[in-house]
Amino acid sequence: MHTDTKSFAYLQDPYAMAYPETAPFWEAAEQGQLLLKVCKDCGRAHWYPRAICPFCGEDDTEWKPASGLGRIYAFSILERADPPYALAYIELDEGPILISNLVDCNIRDLHIGERVRAVFRQSQDGRYAPFFTKNL
């Protein structure tokens, strides 16, 4: 995945670099791909990605491409911000629920259970992170 000609933004991000073992995630995110850590032993995906499986305790996990699709599990509009934005829990089709923002859609028309898909945006620290939109 890595090419010598491209310099990835996450390499300058202290939050990404504090966890060298998560580099494949940020590298994939920068190329528009959501990865999940899945246990080779029990087969379950977990979030946030770890070197060990938090379900069965084995240390043999692998990165696997995820569909990037999921549903709104819960959300809150932060009305005191200017402009207001939508904080959300997204339940991925693969199972785990992660915290994110809902973007590129009308935050005044959101509902629990609605289908969403991942889009990748650069965070304030430099790394690209998964955000979610209703625009499938």
């Binding site: 509009i77 932060l78 829990y89 915290i99």
Partner: protein, 387 residues
């Protein structure tokens, strides 16, 4: 615990705004206040307990400042419930004879430092493994609790009116507390018409931000019976950390399921036996979650329970937070654990305001969450008995 421990000193610092004092001094003033309440002196202390609000984030500086000679110390830091945990840890140390006079202190100044506690994302460094995954999304505390509230509404039919009933009960109690920040009684409509902070939570669903402090003193039966204070015994306690379950979160269930059961099992009593409950109320939704998870209500029934007035002293089945709680009275250092313990002690001593004092209050509970991870968080419960 074979040999019991007793809370003999409890002190809530009177300040709610202290730009002229250091956090260290507020800790020290709280310590002396609780020791004076007990009839003990600083030189009697041989066990000390504090959490991350202590200067330096661990016990060292306060122990040095107070010049304590210790046999036991504990710097357990699990956010706002740390002090409820400390009561459990102190009671265990005392029951084992490891120390005889245990001091717990808390203090902080979020008000005078202008901290936007609930509406600004916390700026945390990269050392916590969850931070890289949460930080891009500008999660605020109120936003996370907003999602909890929304999910509880989705699963159980809880309403904004149910949440507001918690605030109405707290405000009813706070009108009798001359030191409470918000003393004016409020109606359901007042809560619903207050500004929306993070949907579905209104401003009046959120606790106050205050400077302040508090302290507790625990000791063994022999010393407790030599003092002139009413005997308030630690009858049972429990604590846990509820994780995010590696992404399979359960946002409508709190760690109170674990800590409450541990406390009730150790105490050998049932929720129906409790005459008064201090329940950490950082947000109204957290009271409903804990009422359910501690066993006072079935899951999903806490909203109607609150709406029927059951949390109001003199009216309901489970008077709660008769000092006005964090919603109205005080939330020193953004940590509500110690004030929950203090009001429970007041109730058991019969020293609450007469208008909110629970008659024949012999069993009380104090419980609360700690750290804001929304769905993964600490929880601690203590059950106290008037002997």
């Amino acid at each position: 615990m074979a040999r019991k421990a007793y809370i003999v000193g409890a002190y809530e610092h009177p300040t709610r705004y202290a730009p002229d004092k250091s956090v260290t001094q507020l800790h020290a003033e709280s310590a002396l206040g609780a020791l004076k309440d007990a009839g003990l002196r600083l030189q009697d202390v041989d066990g000390y307990f504090c959490a991350g609000d202590a200067p330096g984030g661990n016990p060292f500086s306060m122990v040095d400042y107070l010049n304590l000679n210790l046999k036991w110390l504990d710097g357990t830091e699990i956010g706002g419930c740390s002090y409820i945990r400390h009561v459990r840890h102190a009671a265990l140390a005392i029951s084992q004879g490891k120390c005889s006079v245990a001091l717990i202190t808390l203090a902080g100044k979020p008000k005078s430092s202008g901290q936007a506690t609930g509406t600004a994302p916390r700026d945390v460094g990269p050392d916590r493994p969850d931070t890289p995954w949460d930080r891009p999304y500008r999660a605020t505390i109120t936003g996370i609790y907003g999602m909890l509230a929304q999910r509880h509404m989705h699963e159980y039919g809880t309403t904004s009116e149910h949440l507001a009933a918690v605030k109405v009960a707290a405000a009813h109690h706070a009108q009798y507390n001359e030191r409470a920040v918000l003393r004016k009684p409020v109606t359901i409509e007042d809560v619903l018409h207050s500004p929306m902070i993070a949907t579905p939570l209104h401003r009046l669903d959120c606790c106050v931000i205050t400077d302040g402090g508090g302290a507790l003193v625990l000791t063994n039966a022999e010393i407790a019976k030599s003092l002139s204070r009413p005997l308030v015994k630690v009858r049972g306690a429990g604590e846990t950390i509820k994780t995010n379950r590696a992404g399979y979160i359960e946002p409508t269930t709190s760690g109170a399921v674990v800590s409450g059961k541990l406390a009730f099992d150790e105490a050998g009593i049932a929720p129906d036996d409790v005459k008064y409950a201090s329940i950490y109320d950082n947000f109204t939704i957290m009271v409903l979650l804990q009422l359910e998870d501690l066993g006072f209500c079935k899951k999903g029934h806490a909203g109607p329970f609150a709406a029927e007035g059951n949390l109001i002293s003199g009216k309901g089945r489970l008077p709660f937070n008769t000092d006005g709680g964090g919603l109205c009275n005080n939330h020193p250092a953004n940590r509500g654990g110690i004030t929950k313990m203090i009001e429970a002690v007041r109730q058991l001593r019969g020293e609450a305001h007469p208008a909110v004092q629970v008659p024949h209050c012999d069993l009380a509970l104090a419980a609360g969450p700690g750290l804001v991870m929304g769905v993964g968080q600490g929880h601690a419960t203590v059950i106290l008995e008037r002997e």
